[in-house]
């Protein structure tokens, strides 16, 4: 009887620690700022505009790869700007889980880009990017908010649409996805996280 009580006390204390850890992780996962999405979206829209210029159109892949690097840099800097987040979660569970969810899809995207580019499948690249990025966000949303999962699902839908649309629409779809979706969701997430009380 006594040993059963002892186990209960032990497991209650362990459950308390788990609850504390879960509360901390949830609080950190809310820290993805909407500005990250808006900034990435602006980079995406700029890339769409630049790559739509007829003279630059043949170089659209390079333009978008540069835009991806710029968006990742700006977004990452904004994400880590918050002192409480950077001091406690670099390498910590939420950030690590986020990147573990996202990176496999980005890697697959890089491989597919090379495969499609070298096999005359250029038209399929935008749809593949949108689709895989969306899958990555859905997977990464386990470590963040539900909004990231919905954003990921929207990217998946945009990717599927891009795959069936003709070549002329591909740059526009990249703009809609990496520009428009990022900005809209970034704005909504920023509003939600701004703490307006009803």
């Amino acid at each position: 009887m006594q040993s059963a009580n002892t186990v209960q006390l032990d497991s209650h204390a362990a459950a308390t620690l788990r609850y504390i850890r879960a509360s901390m992780e949830s609080a950190v996962s809310l820290a993805v700022p909407g500005s990250t999405g808006v900034a990435s979206g602006i980079v995406g829209l700029l890339a769409a505009v630049v790559s739509s210029v007829p003279a630059l159109r043949p170089h659209w892949l390079i333009i978008w790869l540069l835009a991806a690097a710029a968006a990742a840099g700006v977004g990452g800097a904004l994400l880590l700007r918050q002192p409480s987040l950077s001091s406690l979660t670099i390498g910590g569970a939420p950030i690590r889980r986020f990147f573990i969810g996202l990176l496999p899809s980005l890697f697959a995207g890089a491989v597919m880009t090379w495969v499609l580019w070298t096999n005359a499948g250029e038209r399929m690249i935008p749809g593949t990017w949108l689709l895989l990025y969306g899958c990555g966000l859905v997977a990464a949303s386990a470590a963040t908010t539900r909004a990231i999962g919905i954003l990921g699902a929207s990217f998946v839908a945009a990717g599927l649409l891009a795959l069936v649309l003709p070549q002329a629409w591909q740059i526009a779809m990249l703009g809609v996805g990496f520009g428009g979706l990022h900005i809209v969701f970034g704005y909504l997430m920023g509003r939600a996280g701004h703490g307006r009380e009803s």
């Binding site: 040993s3 002892t6 979660t89 009380e197």
Partner: protein, 129 residues
């Protein structure tokens, strides 16, 4: 009768075998500290303190979303922690709507650490025994 005697025998045997529990440091060292047990022990308040330990600040809306509690419930818990000086609350208006921002104080952080130490001590003691 026989069953009762058997039960008494089993109980006595269990008493003889009962292991000694290791000493656990008290969570509250002084009488003044005693109230922190009751304050932090409650689940929502413990969650609020834990969340604020890893975030510089959290708004009322963010806390509400985190713990899925009603406005009134969250207000009551936050007020108790505020009254104990474990949290500070800054109220302002944004677009004519109230905005409350909570931050943990040094006193609150110490209280949370003491509570964590106590819980860990309980786990260690029960595993040793």
């Amino acid at each position: 009768m026989a069953a009762k005697a058997e039960a008494r025998k089993t109980g006595a045997a269990a008493k003889r075998k009962r292991p000694k529990l290791a000493a656990v440091p008290a969570a509250a060292a002084t009488a003044d500290d005693a109230k922190f047990d009751r304050l932090i022990y409650e689940r929502v308040r413990l969650g609020i303190m834990s969340a604020l330990a890893v975030r510089e600040e959290l708004t009322f809306t963010e806390l509400k979303a985190l713990f899925d509690v009603s406005d009134g419930n969250l207000s009551a818990h936050a007020r108790k922690l505020e009254e104990a000086s474990y949290l500070t609350c800054t109220k302002s208006f944004e677009d004519r709507r109230p905005r409350s921002v909570y931050r943990i104080t040094a006193l609150g952080r110490n209280a949370l650490h003491r509570y964590l130490d106590h819980v860990e001590a309980v786990i260690k003691a029960t595993r040793r025994s």
